[in-house]
């Protein structure tokens, strides 16, 4: 009897092992007490980060990203809830006994040590044999492209080089997971983009779980396997970059990730799992959910999903009518700002194809249309 119960696990132990999340947070809360006030920096976060995943925590300043990371690293104990590393609770386990390493926002390199000694620090603490230290440090410095800089002090390196030392110093220990707290925050745009590519390459090369904190949505979208969007100490949405971008679960996510057009309409018909909303004169928006007639529904549509035409669009498309208030030429694309008859200000991106004339001018009245599947309901009010 017992045999058969355990059989599936035995058949494929590798799979079972892989299924254990590298990092799991269950109902994690963190409160700080300062000046007689209680600040809930993190107010109940549940997350499971798979092994080998590139996972991003994205959110505005002060939303609790750093605090969340510090609890995983062991610098902070949760006020409530539990952190698990590879399925084991790490409550009360100090930072130096947790098999995760952190790359600090400010790098926090040891200023009195050479690049080599910085990278060797963790291995020396673990009493790794000398020959192996030299070998692993050298190899890691090669991966981050710092060969030949071993004897420099951190102060003698550029910002990008320091960042790579910080990365090497953590990675050389082959931790179960690497926590990166806005590691590119201090770099200029060019270097930042180069480092983003570099980080992805390194992650593929070493195959370690990366938890990446950023408040740059572009960075999160391009680099991550999955993203958790945080706001005010809570995870607002968790999903792949595509899900988060195309199907924002809340007004906050829609507004925070990319540009999003917010429209509201009154439900006029519904049935068969869909509803039709009225928005201004002639505006008809179809959404994939049923609402009671008269409900006020809010939805978002991404600017690049909208078409702009002078004539009324064909049947089957969602449409609103409005007036162009601004045309902004951006080289590869043109932005049209349109005020709808229903009183919403929306933006439409139009790619500039070869020899294309501007499709509309300031002051023109136009139709905006899009496929129904690009409407995302984010709220309703009776």
């Amino acid at each position: 009897m017992t045999e058969t119960q355990h059989a599936p696990l035995r058949d494929d132990p590798g799979r079972a092992e892989d299924a254990v999340p590298a990092i799991e947070l269950a109902g994690v809360r963190k409160e700080y007490h300062a000046y007689g006030e209680t600040v809930a920096a993190v107010q109940g976060v549940d997350l499971a980060i798979a092994q080998g995943e590139f996972f991003s925590l994205l959110g505005p300043s002060g939303c609790g990203k750093t605090t969340t990371m510090r609890m995983v690293a062991g610098f902070e104990e949760p006020t409530a809830g539990e952190v698990y590393l590879l399925g084991e609770s790490v409550t009360g386990v100090p930072a130096n006994r947790r098999d995760v390493n952190m790359v600090f926002q400010s790098y926090a390199l040891f200023p009195h040590m050479s690049v080599f000694e910085n990278v060797a620090f963790g291995l020396r603490r673990k009493r790794t044999p000398k020959a192996e230290i030299t070998e692993r440090v050298t190899e890691m410095l090669r991966i981050v492209d710092l060969t030949g800089r071993e004897r420099r002090r951190p102060s003698e390196l550029s910002g990008g080089q320091q960042q790579r030392v910080a990365l090497a110093r953590a990675l050389v220990n082959r931790p179960r997971a690497l926590l990166l707290d806005e590691p590119l925050g201090a770099l200029d745009l060019k270097l930042r983009q180069a480092m983003q590519v570099e980080l992805k390459r390194i992650q593929r090369e070493v195959g370690i779980t990366f938890v990446y904190v950023t408040h740059d949505q572009g960075e999160a979208l391009t680099m991550s396997d999955r993203i958790a969007v945080m706001n005010d100490g809570l995870v607002e949405q968790l999903g792949t970059p595509r899900e988060i971008y195309e199907r924002p679960a809340s007004k906050f996510v829609a507004g925070f990730i990319g540009t999003s057009n917010l429209l509201a309409g009154d439900a006029v018909e519904s049935g068969g799992g869909t509803s039709v909303l009225k928005h201004g004169d002639g505006g008809r928006i179809e959404v994939g959910r049923e609402f009671a007639t008269g409900d006020k529904v809010e939805l978002t549509v991404r600017p690049e999903k909208m078409q702009i035409t002078a004539d009324e669009p064909g049947d089957g498309l969602c449409r609103v009518h409005g007036k162009v208030s601004e045309v902004v030429y951006l080289g590869t694309s043109t932005n049209y700002n349109v005020t709808t008859d229903g009183g919403a200000d929306v933006v439409v991106f139009v790619q500039n194809a070869m020899n294309a004339e501007d499709v509309a001018r300031r002051g023109d009245t136009v139709w905006l249309s899009w496929e129904p599947q690009h409407s995302y309901v984010i709220g309703s009010a009776e």
Binding site: N101, F121, A170
Partner: protein, 287 residues
């Protein structure tokens, strides 16, 4: 023109300080050095005779006091480090928002005159004073027990008097350490002891180094403590120089002794700087 002004700017900036040093430090120094090679006495006047023997005479007569001064200086400096480091550490890392208050409290006694403080110590430590008197009366101490007039009293007084010169630079060095660097060491598997020995200590060594220079030199040449607390058997060289100069008017001998002390201190400090002040030491400490 502008470029010339730019090039001159740094020199112009050191001009006031440089002039001050030239007038009030270098000139007297040269003058004293010249005096140290004179012969004569206060009644017949002094004459420059390049009498290097003043130096050897000084060593013969007062060599033991010179050595004692350096020894007491060393003891007091070590005691200062032992007391100042934990205090500075605690204020810098655990002081929270009241750091400056704690620092101020530590420095408060030093708003009182140096001589007055030392005299107060004498009152406290006398055989029948408020500290020893009751203990002795209750038979808790043997009747021949003294604190005053001992080397111990002198070193204690020196330690007490020069403590802030050690606390302040160490505090400043510790305070400047980015706490995340310490966290990074924990993150990289360092225990508390290792984090202290490999990161905090090496990063605070420049402060200790500055503190040592700022205490050792004035402590070794101090003349108040040995006079007030030490009695006749624990005389330090500063006291001798003072007596020779003001009481015996042996200007040449006093000057020669001053220069000998200065030379010894400089040699000591340079040796110390060479041994400790290099980056290699910090690096080695970090391993």
């Amino acid at each position: 023109m502008r470029r010339l002004r730019g090039a001159l700017a740094p020199y112009l900036m050191i001009l006031p300080g440089g002039l001050w040093m030239a007038v009030f430090f270098v000139v007297p120094l040269v003058f004293m050095f010249s005096v140290s090679l004179m012969t004569g006495n206060i009644i017949d006047g002094f004459k420059q005779t390049w009498h290097w023997q003043n130096y050897t005479d000084g060593f013969h007569t007062y060599g033991d006091k010179l050595v004692r001064s350096l020894w007491y200086g060393l003891l007091a400096t070590v005691a200062c480090i032992a007391l100042a480091y934990p205090a500075a550490y605690w204020i810098a890392f655990k002081g929270g928002r009241r750091k400056s208050t704690y620092l101020f409290l530590l420095l408060l006694p030093f708003f009182v005159s140096f001589v007055l403080r030392t005299l107060a110590w004498k009152l406290v430590l006398t055989d029948n004073g408020p500290l020893l008197g009751p203990l002795r009366n209750h038979g808790l101490l043997p009747s021949d027990f003294h604190v005053l007039d001992s080397g111990f009293a002198v070193v204690s007084g020196l330690t007490y008097n020069f403590l802030p010169f050690m606390v302040l630079p160490i505090y400043v060095a510790l305070e400047r350490i980015d706490y995340r660097v310490i966290e990074a060491s924990y993150d990289l598997y360092a225990s508390r002891t290792q984090a202290f020995l490999r990161v905090v200590l090496p990063l605070s060594l420049p402060g200790v180094f500055a503190g040592v220079i700022m205490t050792f030199v004035p402590v070794a040449s101090d003349y108040v403590n040995s006079e007030v607390l030490g009695g006749p058997n624990n005389v330090m060289i500063g006291h001798i120089i003072r007596t020779e100069y003001f009481d015996n008017s042996s200007y040449a001998l006093a000057s020669a002794l001053s220069f000998s002390l200065m030379a010894l201190l400089l040699v000591g400090i340079f040796a110390y700087a060479r041994a400790l002040g290099t980056e290699d030491v910090l690096e080695a400490a970090g391993r």
